[in-house]
Amino acid sequence: MIPDQSETLSRTILVLLPEIVLALSAAAIMVAGPFFRRGRSLWAGLSAAAIGASLLALLAVSGSGTDAFAYGSVALNDALSVYGRFAFLITGLILLGLAHNQVGDDRAAEFFGALLFVISGAMLVCAANELIFLFVGLELVSIPTYLLLYLPRRNRTTQEATTKYFFLSVFSSALLLFGFAYLYGLTGVSNLKALAFLMGGGGEVITTGTAAIGSIAVVFVTAGLGFRVAAVPFHFYAPDVYQGAPTVITALLAWIPKGIGFVAMIRVLTSVVSVGEPMLSERAVFLAWLIAAATLILGNTVALVQTNLKRLFAYSSIAHAGYLMVGVAAAFARVEDPANLGPYSGAEGIVFYLAAYALMTLGAFGVILYLEGSGERAETIDDLSGLSRTRPLLSLAMALCLFSLAGVPPLAGFWGKFFIFASAWTAEPIQGIPSLQLLAVIGVINAAIGAYYYLRIVAAIYYGTPARSPAAESRSAAGWPTAMAVGTCAVLSLILGLIPGPLQSASRRAAVAAIGQPAPGTSGPEGEDETETDDVALVRPRPVR
């Protein structure tokens, strides 16, 4: 039985309730901004309340499944969607804590409104089950990001950073759209579950000639999302933009675009391509293999020579995009039976790694922000030397985040790397391209190189001599929300490292849900109707020659 249109629509609006709450609050804050002479703490508080309300809405709708509507609705409420939206809301709260005092009073309403829009856009990407909807979600992240880059500070370097990010982001959107157009042209449907179903042989769509069209789609979508996640060869904007942007926006740029880029890759590429024609999937694995290896090597080696902290974290974030691309390469590998994934899947590793990456990166940037907030310089590695004498607790948090970034057990970053390398190691070898095991070896070597520059910072903090005497310092404290955000990141990195089980089973469920193809109509409210896959047959196209 085909779920009827109005029911599909009402269910979709229901599962999108968290995003609707967030976007409406953002719009209300932006509209109210010019009319009230209030400080930024009011707007920050309202934003926190909006995120809290959205979190409650997410918990309320998390039980309502959308499997029966999967081939007709634009948004899904599967395990990946709930996992991702939960992660973006929590990191949204952390970002809000870091950002609460980073903008002037007269621009605070627009700033926090834009921040809420970014979070709701990221959540839309996690829930999206439709090319158009996914694109709108990605742009709902990009467009407020331009505002966020520009609003807090208006000097020449910020303007340059904003310009670079803006132009490259517009360029990458065009590449992404070109890829989406060919992905749509391949089958004539834009619903992602239906697309995967048709690619999997459900509709005899793939004839020999269309592997070319599929390759165009994969290459351009990878390029467009590669800009978002800062993967080589689309990484070159990252160091400049990270250095020129205000620190809190650097933290946001290091996490949100990367997070949504990889979630979008799981939704659009790996779940669709890996169940499709073997030739297309092999080409996709090879493409991801090349990007992953280049990203890993370039990110880690150039980071070795950096002294500016923000530039160093920019190259470190490029390197982390490389580890995640290893997961993408493993996830592209052909899956014979979507209902039965292997013991380690690439998507599972990516999803786990993203959560760990968010915590450790935001924590490290939070420490820099805390120091800036209390009036100290924190631009180069030398500025941090001897920090442990004056601020032992903050140094401990920084050390935890850096160890986690380096992948030292038993922290969350270690398990993320472990699951990704395990998925690459256990992937089936493919004829004609370098094996994924070699990629896993390259990844492990790079993790060792990466450990050097993280440990260099830790060594400076604990064994360096302070540039100035501790007594001369003002020792003022930054705001408590910043401290709480940093503490949350560090503690969660440790806890998730010691007890990775719950997060791992959640990411497992997310990976299974991403690739799973629910039987149309069988789990609907009636349940007794066993007619053929009517709603797919409705959109079944003719093959492209």
Binding site: I143, F178, A181, Y184, D240
Partner: protein
């Protein structure tokens, strides 16, 4: 559902023109130095995408591609609004639209990646930046506007 009057041979024409627009836009974006022309090139890439989408939409005989085009144009319009605002600000700062004048952020110790000798000459104008402004009327806005004290150049 499918349209026999629109075979693949027709579709391929649309795809070729769409890809050509896309490629020309990409070429223009990467080679031009004027901020406005760069943005127009990016818009041309989007027009190539739109043509591709509409062609596929006609071929498959459904409306999805056309809906996609409308959504895409809407998003592109809001991006254009932001782009023009940003370009205006940049122009007021250095009185030039040449993109090669914005190379302050780069690896330490490396020379500028693009030669600026061919750039339009620009002279920093003394004094604070000037923006067009409306004569205030009605109630005073809640937040007193801070005068723009930053210097050009």
């Amino acid at each position: 559902m499918t349209d026999p009057s629109f075979p693949f041979e027709y579709l391929s024409n649309y795809l070729i023109i769409g890809a050509a627009l896309m490629a020309l836009g990409m070429l223009g974006f990467l080679s031009r130095r004027n901020l406005i022309v760069m943005f127009l090139s990016a818009e041309m890439m989007l027009q190539g995408v739109a043509l591709t989408l509409v062609g596929f939409s006609r071929y498959h005989g459904n409306w999805t591609g056309q809906v996609f085009t409308i959504v895409m144009l809407t998003v592109a319009a809001s991006e254009a609004a932001l782009a023009l605002a940003l370009i205006l600000v940049l122009f007021h700062r250095i009185r030039s639209l040449d993109v090669t004048l914005w190379q302050d952020l780069r690896e330490t110790g490396l020379p500028e990646s693009v030669d600026t000798s061919g750039a339009e000459p620009y002279e920093p104008v003394p004094g604070p930046e000037s923006y067009p402004h409306l004569t205030p009327s009605g109630v005073e806005p809640p937040h007193p506007r801070q005068p723009w004290e930053q210097r050009r150049g």
